[in-house]
C-alpha cells in the first residue's frame, strides 16, 4: 500500500516559479505519467517527491505521512535518473548491493535479493560486469534494478530512456510497464514524449509552465483535451481561432453551427475528424497531399494563411490546388482556456 498525496505544492527558484499550486493523488499501484514541454516543471516535481528539492510551500505525503521536509536518504522512494547515475567504480552487483549494505542486511540475503532483481530486469548473470561493459539499455536496467532492490513504496523515473534510440525505448517502456504491474508499485514517470505517456500511463498529468492543465486517463486526454494547450500538445490537432455569432462559429473559409453563446472561441479538430469535399469557393485550397499508403494527409490553406491537416482514405482522390469545403465531424470548442462544447465522437 502506497498512496502519494501532493497538496498545493509550489516551488520557486529565485525568481522562477517552477511548479505552482500543484495537486495530485496517486493511488496504490497506479502509474502516472508527467507530460509537458521542456521547462514545464516535470523534473522539479519529481525531485520534490524524491526529496532532492524542498517545496517552497505545500505538502507531500506518502501513505498519509508528511515527508515534505524529509531528506532523500530517509524517504521510501526510489529514483531512476536520466543517465550517468551508476557508480562506475563498482560492478553491477555492488551497485545493487550498496543500499542493502547500508541497511546492514546479512550478505546471504543481499546476494539473494540482488540476484532476484537482476533476474527481473533480464540481467541474470551480469553481476560481475563493470558498468562500462554494459550497453545504454542495460545500464538503465541496472539503474532500475538498483531502485527496485530496495522495494521502494514509490518509484520515480525521470525520462529514464531519453538517451536511448526509439526501438530500445519502446521495448524498455513495455518492460517497465510489465514490471510495474507485476510488482504493483506506485510509479511516477516523467516524459516529454506523448506516445510514451499514452502507451504507459494509467493517468496522464499534462504540465504547462508549472501548472497542471489536465489530469486524466490517456483516452480522455486524447479524446477530450481539457484546454487548447492539451489539445495541441497531444497528437495532431487543428486549432482554429474564430468568433461565434448567432450560434455560428466563423473563420475565413470555415463556418460551423454550434450551440454556443456569442463571443471569441477556439475550434479544435483532429485531422481524422475533418471531412473535406470538393467545392467551388476558393476559401480553402489544398496545398499538398502526402500519401502514407494506408491513408493520406491533406494540407489545406485557408484564406488567411492558416494551414489545417485533414486525413483522407485515398490520396488519389485529391490534388494540390483543388478548392475544398470543410466539415468537422467531431470537434471541441474552447473559450477562456476551458472546453465549452464538444460534438461528435
Amino acid at each position: 500500500m502506497a498512496v502519494l498525496d501532493i497538496k498545493d505544492v509550489t516551488k520557486i527558484f529565485g525568481g522562477t516559479v517552477a511548479v505552482e499550486r500543484f495537486n495530485l493523488t496517486v493511488a496504490d499501484g497506479e502509474l502516472v505519467c508527467l507530460l509537458g514541454p521542456s521547462g514545464s516543471g516535470k523534473s522539479t516535481l519529481l525531485r520534490m517527491i524524491g526529496g532532492f528539492e524542498t517545496a517552497t510551500s505545500g505538502v507531500i505525503a506518502i501513505d498519509g505521512e508528511d515527508v515534505t521536509r524529509v531528506p532523500p536518504e530517509r524517504r521510501p522512494t526510489g529514483m531512476v535518473f536520466q543517465s550517468h547515475a551508476l557508480w562506475t567504480h563498482m560492478n553491477v552487483f555492488k551497485n545493487l548491493a550498496f543500499g542493502l549494505k547500508l541497511r546492514r542486511l546479512p550478505p546471504a540475503e543481499i546476494k539473494d535479493r540482488v540476484e532476484a532483481v537482476l533476474e527481473q530486469v533480464g540481467l541474470a548473470g551480469y553481476g560481475q560486469r563493470q558498468t562500462h561493459q554494459l550497453s545504454g539499455g542495460q545500464q538503465q536496467r541496472v539503474a532500475l534494478a538498483r531502485s527496485l532492490v530496495l522495494e521502494p513504496k514509490i518509484l520515480l523515473l525521470d525520462e529514464p530512456f531519453a538517451s536511448l534510440d526509439q526501438h530500445l525505448r519502446e521495448r524498455l517502456r513495455e518492460e517497465v510497464r510489465d514490471l510495474q504491474q507485476r510488482l504493483k508499485i506506485t510509479t511516477l514517470f516523467v516524459t516529454h514524449g506523448q506516445d510514451e505517456a499514452l502507451a504507459l500511463a494509467d493517468r496522464i498529468v499534462v504540465l504547462r509552465a508549472g501548472r497542471s492543465e489536465q489530469i486524466d486517463p490517456p483516452d480522455v486526454v486524447y479524446r477530450a483535451p481539457a484546454t487548447p494547450f492539451v489539445a495541441g500538445f497531444i497528437g495532431t490537432m487543428n486549432l482554429i481561432d474564430g468568433v461565434v455569432e448567432g450560434g455560428v462559429f466563423r473563420h475565413p473559409g470555415l463556418d460551423l453551427a454550434m450551440p454556443v453563446a456569442d463571443g471569441p472561441a477556439t475550434l479544435a479538430v483532429r485531422p481524422e475528424a475533418l471531412g473535406i469535399a470538393a467545392a467551388t469557393s476558393a476559401a480553402a485550397v489544398i496545398h499538398r497531399v502526402t500519401d502514407y499508403g494506408t491513408h493520406a494527409i491533406v494540407d489545406i490553406d485557408l484564406a488567411d494563411g492558416l494551414r489545417l491537416k485533414a486525413m483522407a482514405p485515398d490520396a488519389r482522390a485529391w490534388a494540390a490546388g483543388t478548392a475544398v469545403a470543410l466539415s468537422p465531424q467531431a470537434f471541441a470548442v474552447y473559450r477562456d482556456n476551458v472546453a465549452i462544447h464538444r460534438a461528435g465522437a
Binding site: 524524491g50 536518504e73 550517468h84 547515475a85 557508480w87 567504480h89 530496495l150
Partner: protein, 258 residues
C-alpha cells in the same frame, strides 16, 4: 633535456677531481652527507615538514573543494576566490605577512596581550613556521586539483547514493572518495615535490638549524662555496622525489587497470 643535467649532476658527485687533476670514482660526498649529523637532521626536518604539510593539506583542502563542488550560489564564488587567493601572493610577501601576524609582537600577540592573555609561543623560526607558510601557499593548487577530480563525480551519482539511503559520510566514503583517489595522489605528489625544494618560506620562516634542504643547498653552494656537496644534497633530494614519483605513477597505473 631533463635527464642530461641530472646524469651530469650525479656524475659530478661520483667522479671527484683528484689532486693531480684526474677524476676518480668515489662515494665520499654521499658518505659525508649520511655521516654528518647536521645533514641528516636537515634531511629529516625536510621529510617531517613535507609529511606534516601533506597531512594537513588534505583535511584542509578536501572540505573546501567539496564545498566548492556541491554548494551553489554566490557564497561559493567568494570562497573560491579566497581559496585561490594565496596563489597570487609571492612567497616573500606571504612570509612577512605571517611574521607580522604570528611572529613575536605580531597581531595575534598584541590581541592576546590586550585581553590579558600570555604571549604565544610564536611558530616563527621553529619548524612550524615553514609548515604554516607552506600549507597556506599550497592550498590553491591542492584545492584546484581536488576540484578537477570532483568535477568527474556527477550530481546524479551523488543523488542516486542519497536515494538508496546513504548519509553524508557514506556518500563521501563510498561514492566520492573512490572516484577522486587519483586526484588526491596527484595533489599529494605536487605538494611533496614542491615542498621538498621550497626555498623562500623555509628560509625566512624556519629555524637556522636544522634547516630544510632548499636553504641548506643554497647555503652550501653560496656561503660555503662547496658546489660538490650542494649537488650531492640536490641529488639526494631528487632521489626522494623520484621514489615518491614512482610510487605515485604505480598507484595511478594500478588504478587504471581496475
Amino acid at each position: 633535456m631533463i635527464i642530461w643535467p641530472i646524469l651530469s649532476a650525479i656524475g659530478r658527485t661520483l667522479w671527484l677531481p683528484g689532486a693531480d687533476g684526474v677524476s676518480r670514482f668515489s662515494l665520499e660526498t654521499y658518505v659525508f652527507f649520511f655521516s654528518d649529523q647536521y645533514s641528516i637532521n636537515n634531511l629529516m626536518v625536510t621529510l617531517w615538514t613535507t609529511g606534516v604539510c601533506a597531512l594537513l593539506l588534505l583535511p584542509i583542502c578536501l572540505p573546501i573543494a567539496l564545498y566548492l563542488r556541491f554548494a551553489k550560489g554566490r557564497l561559493a564564488a567568494y570562497v573560491q576566490g579566497l581559496a585561490i587567493f594565496p596563489m597570487f601572493v609571492p612567497s616573500i610577501i606571504l612570509s612577512y605577512a605571517i611574521i607580522r601576524v604570528l611572529g613575536p609582537n605580531g597581531t595575534v600577540d598584541l590581541l592576546f596581550n590586550s585581553v590579558g592573555l600570555p604571549k604565544i609561543r610564536s611558530p616563527y623560526l621553529t619548524p612550524w613556521g615553514p609548515v604554516i607558510g607552506l600549507v597556506w601557499d599550497n592550498i590553491p593548487l591542492t584545492v584546484l586539483i581536488l576540484l578537477s577530480g570532483l568535477g568527474a563525480v556527477s550530481d546524479q551519482s551523488v543523488e542516486a547514493a542519497r536515494d538508496v539511503g546513504a548519509r553524508r559520510w557514506a556518500v563521501l566514503w563510498h561514492i566520492i572518495l573512490p572516484r577522486i583517489t587519483n586526484s588526491i595522489l596527484v595533489a599529494i605528489s605536487f605538494t611533496v615535490l614542491g615542498i621538498f625544494s621550497a626555498f623562500t618560506l623555509p628560509y625566512v620562516l624556519g629555524p637556522a638549524a636544522p634547516e630544510m634542504m632548499g636553504p641548506f643547498m643554497q647555503r652550501t653552494f653560496r656561503d660555503l662555496n662547496d658546489p660538490t656537496n650542494a649537488i650531492t644534497q640536490a641529488v639526494i633530494s631528487f632521489a626522494f622525489c623520484i621514489v615518491f614519483g614512482l610510487f605515485y605513477v604505480r598507484s595511478v597505473a594500478k588504478n587504471r587497470k581496475t
